[in-house]
């Protein structure tokens, strides 16, 4: 393995290990509220926000894995996310190689 690749892997592992600090704050992004929060702020829940269900149920909603703590969840979610992006790009690279 090239030294630069090793550096990149270490960099990624450090970042993933730090993700639990990223989920310490409980607040959501401005506007990305749960329906109930709209009632609190706007006085009502807009119909589309109240009744729209996502087309696909998320496997790991809010990066929180059922049954395990938030620290383990953050690290696991970050690892899964990183590996998924890696897998898709790897597939794309192999596909392109074959096309060439």
């Amino acid at each position: 393995m090239k030294k630069s690749t090793k550096f990149l892997i270490i960099f990624m592992i450090i970042l993933i290990a730090l993700t639990p600090f990223g989920s310490l704050s409980s607040g959501s992004a401005w506007g990305e509220w749960e329906p109930e929060k709209f009632k609190e702020i706007a006085g009502f829940i807009p119909k589309s926000i109240q009744y729209t269900k996502p087309i696909v149920e998320a496997m790991i909603p809010d990066y929180q894995i059922k049954g395990i703590g938030s620290t383990a969840s953050a690290i696991t979610s970050a690892t899964i996310g990183a590996l998924l992006t890696l897998a898709v790009l790897f597939g794309l690279k192999q596909m392109t190689k074959r096309e060439r």
């Binding site: 630069s4 993933i16 959501s28 992004a29 401005w30 807009p46 996310g81 992006t85 790009l89």
Partner: protein, 221 residues
């Protein structure tokens, strides 16, 4: 900045999807041209970086949070099209697997955090790079990218009250107008998350350049 499902009208997400599809297919083509055994390690690390950096929620006064997006780093190192594709891939995984950002609104999120951020950071760095201190140029390029992405999100959400009301006259979709969304979303990105993206861009691009220089040196020895 990830808009969830149900927050915008079908007209909004249909138009955005129609705009995003041809752009994404160009971005895919450019990414395929750039991806090979040599570029793979860095490109995939930076895409993973974009995913991970979005998990670092920074609390700000007022009880809300936000995060950097990592688009500028990809854009400066690989170009805007590839950056837009890789960040869109991240957004897609976030939507499908983690329920972060809606699926119907994927096009909007991709246009904002992917394309808008990538191209504005790219042009900012093109204009500033080499003319001013490189650290400052990197910082400003990151800052401007995420701030302009936040403008898109703020405008898309802010026009929703005009796009549908129920029988009692209340908005069906996102209920706050531009007078609220612009200061809240764009303001917080100017003051806080833009700074985070600027610093992330500065640090990561700097780090990568250092690794590159080192491996070049080693190759020469």
């Amino acid at each position: 900045m990830h808009i969830p499902d149900g927050f915008v009208s079908p007209s909004t997400y249909i138009v955005s999807t129609v705009v995003a599809i041809p752009l994404l297919s160009i971005a895919l083509k450019k990414t395929k041209e750039a991806i090979n055994d040599e570029s793979f390690a860095l490109l995939s690390s930076l895409t993973a970086f974009s995913f991970i950096v979005m998990m670092f929620n920074i609390p700000i006064p007022g009880g809300t949070t936000g995060h950097a997006i990592g688009t500028a780093t990809l854009s400066i190192l690989f170009g805007p099209w590839i950056a837009a594709f890789c960040v869109s891939l991240t957004l897609f995984i976030q939507a499908i697997v983690f329920g972060d950002g809606g699926i119907t609104v994927f096009g909007i999120n991709s246009l904002a955090m992917g394309f808008t951020a990538a191209f504005s950071s790219h042009f900012a760095y093109k204009i500033l790079g080499g003319k001013i201190n490189n650290q400052v140029a990197l910082f400003v390029s990151g800052w401007i990218g995420i701030v302009l992405a936040s403008v898109i999100v703020a405008v898309v959400l802010g026009i929703q009250p005009l796009l549908g009301v129920d029988e009692s006259g209340k908005p069906i979709y996102f209920p706050f107008g531009l007078n609220v969304t612009i200061p809240a979303i764009v303001g917080s990105h100017i003051l806080f998350f833009g700074i985070a993206e600027g610093i992330a861009t500065m640090l990561v691009v700097g780090f990568i350049e250092k690794i590159k220089a080192k491996s070049k040196q080693e190759a020469l020895v």
